[in-house]
Subunit: 202 residues, 2 copies
Amino acid sequence: MSTLPVGPEIEQLLTIISRLPGFGPRSARRIALHLLRRREGVMVPLAEALATAAATVAPCEICGNWDSQSPCRLCEDEERDGSVLCVVEDVGDVWALERSGAFKGRYHILGGLISPLDGIGPDDLNFGPLSQRASAGTVREVILALSATVDGQTTAGYVADRLEGLGLTVTRLSHGVPIGGELGHLDEGTLAAALQSRRDFS
Amino acid sequence: MSTLPVGPEIEQLLTIISRLPGFGPRSARRIALHLLRRREGVMVPLAEALATAAATVAPCEICGNWDSQSPCRLCEDEERDGSVLCVVEDVGDVWALERSGAFKGRYHILGGLISPLDGIGPDDLNFGPLSQRASAGTVREVILALSATVDGQTTAGYVADRLEGLGLTVTRLSHGVPIGGELGHLDEGTLAAALQSRRDFS
């Protein structure tokens, strides 16, 4: 990339873009050319949208969701059911669950998972406000919507321990065959879980 | 995407990113999450690099290349051979040729191709300065490095006509089998061209 005779401004742009996930030098060049061709229509608005979002979006003081207001729109939404709290790893999980349209309760975003190997302990995550919220009296059920990985399950166990004695129902997502998934491509663990939690065919 | 409870700042960002080439709603969400997670380290620098490049980069008054200075670095480079002029469609072609390292002359960027179907005629492209440069006395050869498409060849023919009578050598890139290309996957036109312009095996 340093062999391109582009000057420091374009080079800096190419360097930053090529380090984004899913990008390499070639795709960085392609998108930089696209942007430079559409300077007023795309490049300037993108720069402004990035700067605005970077300056205004921050974690919600209650749930940890990213929004330009705190409490965030989800915490302020009176239509949502405050008796069910869904604990997730990060904001991407909130977006995914919201797209499913299947959850109308409230969220709590940990901002990561407990990971002893990476040196991430409970104190590095957003646990404090969780106990407060769970013991405030309005919450009836806590859903642990965490990844089915070692770190996810360690974290789920920790949350469950922490909520013990509060008289709450603590649940987790079910394991099983993904919709549209082919059995032949599934790992044994998922198949075993799907068999164990089989349901009446109706 | 409008179902995400993200507020106008993130929504605007998602909208712009999802319209970039190679992006859709899903990849826009992924990269927006990546950026929001690395606000100071990546998102703000990217916003600044985009704004800086958009504000400073402009076409070179001589060749049409994009640079923050005009004449651009390529036109100012005394090491380059001013007797050979390579005519290309756009700046991406300059970048590609520079990466090949095989050309040390100067460039002329048309900023597009003549395309009657799209209503693009010679007056819409950077032809004026080309005749000037070609007739200034320093240029000996003009290489037409244009795409082997209908529009590319129409444009090449137009340039060649325009340069007639100036006593210049006008050349074009050779056609043939791409390096690393498999014969079985090549179209008949390319194969025919590669046969016709076969060379001594040495």
